[in-house]
């Protein structure tokens, strides 16, 4: 199974490109898309999900051009949009039955699958209540369930943990890990810890361009010897922020412990520490690479 994106581009208005010259080869596993707001993550995902047509470039799934033949992908696609609604007068079971029908699942298969999914997203008790009365997090879980209805080979989830409480967030991350394996999962978020916990590959996007695509270990390797920690006085912090990319601060009794991403030692007393993905994100997105 392989999803290949070649020279993909989307022009919204004349001269304004949401995505440009974007090429990526995606294999089974979890691809975490990281980037700031407006980087082009959702545009990319909508194109992969066959909702938005690219202005240029191709997307092929198992060597089939899905821009020309979107249905080749839709049968095996599960998609959770960033912003979606539900039919307020239906309950969760009815809504999932509806989505299952249009996804092409027969009634018996749909019933069994819906039952499992409702357990999985912890909505069994509220399954017969109208969706109009659901909280934001509950609606999000209905969205997750509908994305998994057809046992998708390609699962695209855009900001899936928005509105979930910490426990549900962890459960969802574990679910994604369980689901990967022989399928492609594309996860977009700017919550770096979600990607850190699950992704087997990471793509960093900014201003519609692909900055880096690599395994998390490879990204971290690039930062070896570039992350530093030391303690400064509170008054020195503003000046330090002007000079360096600060990825973290911790208040201590003797001042503020700062964590800085820098190719060279920023201060004589700075100690090199192990990098994490947040450091990598700031390093690459901050344009200091």
């Amino acid at each position: 199974m392989q999803l290949t994106v070649t020279d993909l581009g989307k022009e919204y208005k004349r001269g304004f490109w949401g995505l440009k010259n974007f090429s990526l080869e995606i294999k089974p596993g979890i691809l975490g898309l990281l980037g700031p707001n407006g980087a082009g993550k959702s545009t990319f995902m909508r194109m992969l999900a066959t909702i938005t047509k690219p202005t240029e470039g191709t997307i092929t799934y198992n060597n089939v051009n899905v821009v020309a033949q979107p249905d080749a992908l839709r049968d095996v696609l599960g998609y959770l949009p960033q912003d979606f609604g539900v039919y307020p007068n239906l309950n969760a079971v009815e809504f999932l039955e509806y989505m299952a029908a249009i996804k092409g699942l027969d009634a018996a298969t749909a019933r069994k699958r819906i039952d499992e999914l409702l357990q999985l997203v912890n909505l069994k008790d509220a399954a017969r209540r109208p969706l109009g009365g659901y909280s934001g997090g509950m609606k999000q879980r209905v969205g997750i369930a509908q994305a998994l209805l057809n046992d998708p080979q390609l699962l695209i989830v855009d900001e899936p943990t928005v509105g979930l409480d910490p426990e549900e967030r962890v459960r969802f991350r574990n679910l994604l890990s369980d689901l990967s394996g022989e399928r492609i999962v594309i996860l977009s978020t700017h919550i770096v810890s979600d990607v850190e916990a699950t992704a087997t590959h990471i793509a960093l996007i900014n201003k519609g361009q692909l900055l880096r695509a690599a395994a998390p270990e490879d990204l971290l390797k690039e930062l070896d010897g570039k992350v530093w920690e030391w303690t400064v006085q509170s008054d020195d912090l503003p000046a330090l922020k002007q000079k360096h990319i600060i990825s973290g601060t911790i208040r201590r009794s003797d001042g503020v412990q700062v964590r800085v991403v820098s190719a060279t030692p920023p201060e004589a007393q700075a100690v090199s520490v192990s990098p994490n993905l947040e450091d990598a994100y700031l390093y690459f997105i901050g344009g200091k690479s």
Partner: protein, 520 residues
């Protein structure tokens, strides 16, 4: 920030948001079309067999009347929806956290509604100037005489329409499609009421449409020249032969008339403040909760999660080859979606109408019961084609396989079945009576209603357009015996030879629209 400044910014932002919308351009196009129809003489103001010379006063009055009639009626639908937009976008809840009061917020909305309608009026005024020059009967522009009817006749009415839109948006049961239908009939009912009310005929300046005021003033001027004038005042395509013209210099705007017209604006503001009594200020807890299907169910929201360890669940892999697409399943789901959410009495009345169709004589069923049954489900079928946009599920449904060929046909068919079900009683009656013409008309009507809704829903993305178009057709065709629009065969054999091919064209149009949305 001063109160005036708050209202100004509220109205300004809302006005800009609206004039940049596609629907504003469509309405503007319709207004230009109205102006054009007047310019080429398809629409004119006539007093019996006479008309005024096309000078500034006459053209100004005529265009003002066109504005009061069309913007008064359809402008309501254009401006209604700004509170709903704040509700849908969540902006309303943000505003609710500010010190903004309910009357102030609604006053801003009223002002914005009024500004949008005034912009339309300005276009008609410009069209009026062009018409005066095109007719060439008087090349002298008398601006005060031309503009006065716009200011003193049209604007006060538009102020009331703007306030009505705010009032309807504030009263929960008038916020949706039901409110649209209520306004439609309220406008039709108020029109003759205004004209025939004895108090208003004594004080015509207080009549919001300005018909009485203008007909009195014009009639007086005409009688002075042509004493044989026996009454009659119409705005439309004419039809009568014009035997003479007369010069009319305009209304004598006395302080009493101006006071009366200004009173209407004050009344509009009062309506707006009155609306504040019903406005929930975006507090969802103030809206009436829906009755649960199972009263034993716990009405409080379920906890977002539970604290104990959750059982680990593993999904059974699907046997893709064994699972086959079933159109019937989609159809059942679409039917469920269409019929769900109605109260018990809706179904009871629908059942009553079906039974009434069977037990009544064929002519009664044709003329009254079937048209009423097909008006009863208007708010149900009006969701066809636009439900995905309304409930923001497009991305999920459009990313499913073959949304054009799986979901859209099922949606149309669900609408057709529900329409046919409401006509089932009539179907039995006509079949028993051997009324083949009635059966054919019924079938063409059942085809036409969901097709019109689907096409308008897909292309407009809202149910409002269908609700207005359909109720207008229903009112003119089946109810008022305009044979050309009689889609249900209420007064004749209907027009299946037109409505069947037209329905097919509408379905094709809907598919074209959806296909375009999917390609975007």
């Amino acid at each position: 920030m001063s109160t005036a400044r708050i209202i100004y910014h509220l109205a300004r932002a809302d006005f800009l948001e609206r004039v940049r919308r596609y629907s504003f351009l469509v309405m503007l196009g319709l207004v230009v079309f109205l102006g054009y129809q007047t310019a080429i003489g398809n629409m004119a103001l006539e007093l019996g067999q006479y008309r005024g010379e096309y000078n500034s006063a006459w053209v100004g009055a005529m265009m003002s009347l066109i504005a009061t009639f069309f913007l008064g009626w359809f402008g309501f639908y254009l401006v209604k929806g700004s509170v709903a937009r704040d509700r849908e976008t969540g902006v309303g809840q943000i505003m609710a956290t500010t010190p903004l009061t309910r009357p102030l917020y609604l006053l801003g909305k009223w002002l914005s509604n009024f500004a949008v309608l005034t912009a339309m009026l300005a276009v008609l005024a410009l069209a009026g100037l062009v018409i005066q020059f095109m007719q060439g009967e008087s090349m002298q522009v008398n601006l005060p005489a031309f503009l006065a009817p716009f200011f003193f006749i049209a604007l006060p009415l538009l102020a009331l329409v703007a306030a009505a839109a705010v009032l309807f948006e504030s009263i929960p049961f008038l916020q949706g499609g039901f409110g649209n239908i209520v306004y439609f009939f309220a406008f039709i009912m108020f029109l003759p009421l205004f004209l025939e009310n004895s108090t208003l005929s004594r004080y015509p300046a207080y009549e919001p449409m300005g018909l009485g005021l203008l007909s009195n003033e014009m009639g007086r001027a005409l009688t002075a020249i042509h004493p044989d004038y026996g009454g009659g005042f119409s705005l439309g395509s004419g039809g009568q032969e014009i035997i003479g013209t007369f010069t009319w210099e305009g209304v004598q705007w006395t302080p009493a008339i101006l006071f009366a017209r200004f009173t209407l604006i004050v009344l509009a503001v009062a309506f707006t403040f009155f609306a504040a009594l019903f406005f929930d200020r975006f507090d969802p807890s103030r809206s009436k909760p829906r009755r649960m299907k199972n009263p034993a169910a716990d009405p409080s929201p379920a906890p977002a999660s539970i604290s104990q360890a959750l059982p680990s669940v593993h999904l059974t892999p699907l046997n893709r080859a064994a699972s086959r697409f079933s159109f019937f399943s989609v159809l059942v789901a679409e039917l469920k979606l269409l019929l769900k959410g109605q109260r018990w009495w809706w179904y009871a009345i629908a059942g009553g109408l079906i039974i009434a169709s069977i037990v009544n004589p064929s002519t009664i069923t044709r003329q009254y019961v079937l048209p009423i049954a097909w008006a009863w489900h208007i708010l149900l079928v009006s969701s066809l084609g636009n439900r995905e946009a309304r409930d923001n599920v497009q991305q999920m449904t459009y990313s499913s396989a073959s949304p054009l060929w799986r979901q859209l046909p099922a949606q149309w068919l669900a609408g057709f079945i529900v329409t046919l079900l409401l006509g089932a009683g009539a179907l039995v009656r006509f079949a028993v009576d051997g009324d083949m013409a009635g059966l054919l008309a019924l079938f063409s009507g059942a085809l036409f209603i969901p097709s019109l809704s689907l096409a308008l829903g897909v292309w407009s993305g809202t149910s409002k357009v269908f609700e207005i178009v359909y109720i207008s057709l229903w009112y003119l065709g089946p109810m008022n015996r305009v044979d050309a629009l009689d889609f249900s065969g209420a007064n004749s054999s209907g027009r299946p030879e037109f409505f069947i091919p037209f329905s097919i064209a509408l379905i094709a149009l809907a598919f074209l629209g959806r296909s375009r949305q999917l390609r975007n």
